[in-house]
Structure formats: structure tokens, C-alpha cells
């Protein structure tokens, strides 16, 4: 019954317009809020410190653990530093490292995973083995070992976080591709004599992009947390540069007495990741026409 309803047998002349219309459907309030948050965040990152003369590093011994006030809009931390200023300053670094390293991991990991699934045999065996071994270690431990070798700098932290994220993308791309390999349209392309790189680029990538993209935003959140973990262990960006991860780790000590220390960076992080997810969903829905996607 559901098949009969979700896939009407005939698509009459009007449906093209219907497809277009659904692609241009109005924005939901979630999407509007998400876009607003990201715009505000970017403006805030660059402009607010100038307008409000914020300083992320300035100590105020008289206002330690202060709640929100006219002077400190979101309160202060254990040293009396302005939490808003720190969160905005941290946003630059956290977003750069989180999104940047995730993007790199995706660009490197997905082709490897897809190739493993496409070619199979020993190629797949080797790639899968290496992936499984690396995935055996917690991401933070891996990043820690790498930064210990490379030394703590912005570039090296980025490399370390990228490296720990790659295996997850490899595995994800591999399993998604495997599910497509036996689909008729991939075999149809093979039968037409299409070369492997063309099949991967035209038949496989576009059809796994959805899932990979959704996963990437989860991975970006994890990357930000791991960066914080590195900083906490003294292997992250050189202090005193604040990041969301650093702030969350520092605030953890005062969770019981002054929860706003951890709340402020956590809310920034959560809202940002959520916004990315909502907008990614929207982009995905726009890219797919109704009835397309993974229908089998």
C-alpha cells in the first residue's frame, strides 16, 4: 500500500511544476533561526569586540565568577575574564579548526573509502585493515600522539585532528558505496563501458553525498571537542588563546558551583552545530527533487 502511495504510477504534466515548487518551498522557522545564528556569530566574531571594546584576555579580579551584567553581558570566568569576549574569540579558532579539519578529512577519506568499495579485493582488504586499526584508538589519544610528535601549533593541531577524523570518513564512504555497487544503475554504467573514475564521480559520489555531509557536521562537532581536549592537556593551541574546547574544559571544574562557565561555550557550540545541520538538511532537500534520493 505504501508503495502505491509514495510512488504514484503516473506523473502527469503538472508534476514538473510541482517538483520546482517544492524545491523553492518557503523557509521554515528553524532554517531562519539557524541562518540568523550563523550570520550573527560571524558578525559578532569580527565586529562585537570592536564595538564593545571586548578583550578576551583581560583579568578583572573584582568580578570573578560574575553573572551576566551590563558590563559583562554573559558574565565572567574564574579569572574574571569576559565570557562573551572569550566565546567570540574562541569562535574564530574553533570554527576554523573544526570545519577546516573536517573538510580536509572528508576530501581525503571519501575517495579512499569509495575506491576500496569499488575495486574490492586486496585494495579493500588493506584499506579496511588500516582503517580498523586506527579506529581502535580513541580520537583524542591519536591526535595527542600526533601533536606530541609534531609540536603544538595551529597547523599541527589541524593536521592531528584531520588525521584522526579520516578513518571514520573512509569507513562511512566505503559502506555507503558498497550499498550502491549492486544497484542496477551502477551496473548499467559498467555495461556501457564507462570508466571507473567516471562511475565514481557521476554515479557514486552524488548518491553518497547526503549521508556523508550529514556525518561531516557531527564530525565537525567532535573535532571542536577534541581540539579542546588537546588544549586542556596542554597539547593544543598555545595558551592564552581561548577556544570553545578550552573554555568547556576549564569550566568543567566549576560545573557544580558556577555552571555558566561551561554553559556559555557549550551553547555556542551546540547552536552552531545545530545550525549547520539544519542548513545542510535544507541544502540536501534542495539538491534532490521529490521522489529522488535513495528510492529503490
Amino acid at each position: 500500500m505504501t508503495t502505491e502511495l509514495t510512488a504514484p504510477p503516473a506523473v502527469p504534466s503538472g508534476s514538473r511544476r510541482r517538483g520546482r515548487a517544492s524545491r523553492r518551498r518557503s523557509w521554515t522557522w528553524m532554517e531562519i533561526l539557524s541562518a540568523t545564528w550563523l550570520v550573527l556569530l560571524v558578525f559578532g566574531m569580527f565586529l562585537l569586540p570592536l564595538i564593545l571594546h571586548l578583550d578576551a584576555l583581560e583579568f578583572d579580579a573584582k568580578a570573578r565568577f560574575a553573572g551576566p551584567s551590563a558590563e559583562y553581558l554573559l558574565g565572567t570566568d574564574n579569572y574574571g575574564r569576559d565570557l562573551l569576549a572569550r566565546a567570540l574569540s574562541g569562535a574564530k579558532v574553533s570554527l576554523f579548526i573544526g570545519l577546516g579539519s573536517t573538510f580536509l578529512a572528508l576530501v581525503i577519506g571519501v575517495p579512499i573509502g569509495t575506491a576500496a568499495a569499488y575495486f574490492g579485493g586486496w585494495v579493500d582488504a588493506v584499506i579496511s585493515f588500516v582503517t580498523d586499526v586506527i579506529l581502535g584508538f580513541p580520537g583524542l589519544v591519536l591526535a595527542l600522539v600526533l601533536t606530541a610528535f609534531l609540536g603544538a601549533s595551529k597547523t599541527n593541531v589541524m593536521i592531528a585532528i584531520t588525521a584522526q577524523a579520516i578513518p571514520a570518513f573512509v569507513r562511512m564512504a566505503r559502506s555507503q558505496t558498497l550499498a550502491l555497487m549492486n544497484r542496477d544503475f551502477v551496473e548499467a554504467s559498467k555495461v556501457l563501458g564507462t570508466r571507473p573514475h567516471s562511475i565514481i564521480a557521476r554515479d557514486l559520489f552524488p548518491n553518497i553525498a547526503d549521508t556523508i555531509l550529514a556525518f561531516a557536521f557531527v564530525a565537525a562537532g567532535r573535532a571542536i571537542i577534541i581540539e579542546g581536549g588537546l588544549s586542556f592537556l596542554g597539547m593544543g593551541l598555545p595558551l592564552p588563546q581561548p577556544t570553545w574546547g578550552v573554555m568547556i574544559n576549564e569550566g568543567r571544574q566549576y560545573l557544580n558551583t558556577d555552571p555558566h562557565l561551561i554553559l556559555v561555550p557549550s551553547v555556542f557550540l551546540m547552536l552552531s552545530i545545530l545550525s549547520f545541520n539544519v542548513l545542510a538538511d535544507r541544502l540536501r532537500a534542495d539538491a534532490t527533487t521529490d521522489g529522488g534520493g535513495k528510492g529503490a
Binding site: 510512488a7 504510477p9 503516473a10 506523473v11 504534466s13 508534476s15 514538473r16 517538483g19 544497484r183 542496477d184 544503475f185 551496473e187 548499467a188 554504467s189 559498467k190 555495461v191 556501457l192 563501458g193 564507462t194 570508466r195 567516471s198 557521476r202 554515479d203 552524488p206 548518491n207 534532490t288 527533487t289 521529490d290 521522489g291 529522488g292 534520493g293 535513495k294 528510492g295 529503490a296
Partner: protein, 281 residues
């Protein structure tokens, strides 16, 4: 045991003089083995199958699931290993895994929408073989693809949609266009009407028959349904347990089946004819 010479031979041949009695496609003693992971040995899905398809001829290959008919055509299409045996096109032995063979054999599959990339328009997919084999400008390729789509009865409006936005019948027509756009010598049809509604099946069967009689395209037609094969094919081969058990003209197979399995298959096809008034339909 299945040396079947083509009785219809050279009907559609307009090419070189010597090609007239050479079959378009010949499969000699083909065997397909798969490694059996559980038992450790090998499982032989196709056990010495030989068949020929002449110019403009349609050969039906009938059998139930697991009989090896799918493995046979997958071997011809280079999707499964041809463990033993030879494939000849126009009398010349070729390696089915050789990419150059691909432009000479067209194929259509059972699931019409599933055989198209869901992210691309039907037109893009039909133009794809031209991109792979011919090159040329995008506009030229689209023009050629649209002409081929028009020939099978798909309008440009439909062609610009994605596979899930058109009906199964339209999709299967587009699949036929994709398979014939390069002008192959033979078309392999793997259960092309099984997934379609009854009223649409007939449309596709009539279209395939036109391609064969008008364009002289040779066909290897795989189906589990003896009745479907009987309406379209000149000769029919019946396959069971990896072997061809009977081959002959469709009239012989349908009206005077010899092998016990053919008889069983024949009697199992549900028909309503016993209830209709004889003489009219």
C-alpha cells in the same frame, strides 16, 4: 548438445557480404563458477551453455530463478567471470571484460527506475554513452540522445525529468534508448517487462518487436515467463540448473515441449484462456 543453428539467419543483414550467415553473438560452452564461501569449493552456476543469435533474430532464454540465466548474461556483459568458454561477436572471439566490447552490446534491465542514476535526468543518462564513446559537444550529444528517445516514444519534456518522476513504462523506454543510442549489434534484455504493469508490458513488448523487425537488431531476451518470450522470440532456449535443457523454434517449445522441465514450465504458466470463448479474444 545445444548446437542451435539459426533458422531465421540473415533476415536483417544489410552489411558486408560474408556476415550474412555468421551469428551476431555466439556463446560456446560457457561456464561460470563462483567461489562458495561456506563450503570452500566452487559453485558452478552455468555449466557449458552454448547459444547463437543471428542477425535480426530474437532468442528467448527462459528459466526460473537460480537456473543460471542471469549468470549467463552477466558473463556476456562482463559483470561475472567467464570461467571457461568463448564469446564471439560477428564470428570473432572477444573477451567480455574488454571495454571495447561494451559499445557493441546494449543491455536493459528489470527495474526501470533502478537502472538510472536517481540524481540525473533521463536525458543526461541516455547521452552518457555518447560522452563515453563519441565525445563531441554537449549540445550534439543531447540532440542525438533526444532523437533516440523520440524514436522509442519519450518526449523531451519527459526526458528532462529524473527516473522517479516518470512512470515505469517511460523509464523502460528510456532504458531502451540508452542501450541502442550507440547502435549496438545486439540488445540483451534481462526481464525487461517483469516489473511493469500488465497494460504497460504490452507497450514495451511491441516497441522491442519494432526495433527488431524495423532496425534489424538482434536480441537475447531473458525471462522467467514463457508466455512473454513466446510473443516476441523466434527461437527459445529453456535453462534449468545451469544447463540448456531444450532449444528450438518458439512454436515447438510452446506447442510441443519435449523435455520434462519444459513441460512443467509450460503447464505452470497461469492462463485464463480455458475460460474464454474459443475463437475470440
Amino acid at each position: 548438445m545445444t548446437s542451435a543453428t539459426s533458422p531465421v539467419g540473415a533476415t536483417g543483414s544489410a552489411g558486408s557480404a560474408d556476415a550474412s550467415d555468421v551469428p551476431v553473438l555466439e556463446l560456446v560452452d560457457a561456464r561460470v563458477r563462483y567461489r562458495d564461501r561456506q563450503e570452500g569449493g566452487y559453485f558452478e552456476a552455468v555449466r557449458g551453455v552454448s547459444l547463437t543469435v543471428g542477425r535480426g533474430e530474437a532468442l528467448g532464454l527462459v528459466g526460473e530463478s537460480g537456473c543460471g540465466k542471469s549468470s549467463t548474461i552477466r558473463a556476456i556483459l562482463g559483470l561475472a567471470p567467464l570461467s571457461e568458454g568463448r564469446l564471439l561477436i560477428d564470428g570473432v572471439a572477444v573477451d567480455p571484460r574488454d571495454r571495447a566490447v561494451r559499445s557493441r552490446i546494449g543491455a536493459i534491465f528489470q527495474n526501470p527506475a533502478g537502472s538510472f542514476n536517481p540524481r540525473r535526468s533521463l536525458l543526461d543518462s541516455v547521452a552518457e554513452p555518447l560522452r563515453v564513446w563519441r565525445g563531441g559537444s554537449r549540445a550534439d550529444r543531447e540532440r542525438a540522445a533526444l532523437a533516440e528517445l523520440d524514436r522509442v516514444g519519450v518526449t523531451e519534456l519527459m526526458a528532462r525529468r529524473r527516473p522517479h518522476e516518470v512512470s515505469g513504462g517511460q523509464c523502460q523506454r528510456a532504458a531502451i534508448a540508452r542501450a541502442t543510442v550507440l547502435g549496438p549489434e545486439i540488445l540483451i534484455c534481462d526481464e525487461p517487462v517483469s516489473a511493469l504493469d500488465v497494460s504497460i508490458q504490452a507497450q514495451v513488448l511491441v516497441l522491442l518487436d519494432e526495433l527488431r523487425t524495423q532496425a534489424g537488431l538482434a536480441m537475447l531476451f531473458i525471462s522467467h515467463d514463457l508466455a512473454v518470450v513466446a510473443t516476441l522470440c523466434d527461437r527459445t532456449a529453456v535453462m534449468n540448473a545451469g544447463e540448456i535443457v531444450e532449444v528450438g523454434t518458439t512454436a515447438d517449445i510452446a506447442d510441443r515441449p519435449q523435455h520434462a522441465y519444459t513441460k512443467l514450465l509450460h503447464d505452470s504458466v497461469p492462463s485464463h484462456l480455458f475460460l474464454t470463448n474459443s475463437g475470440s479474444s
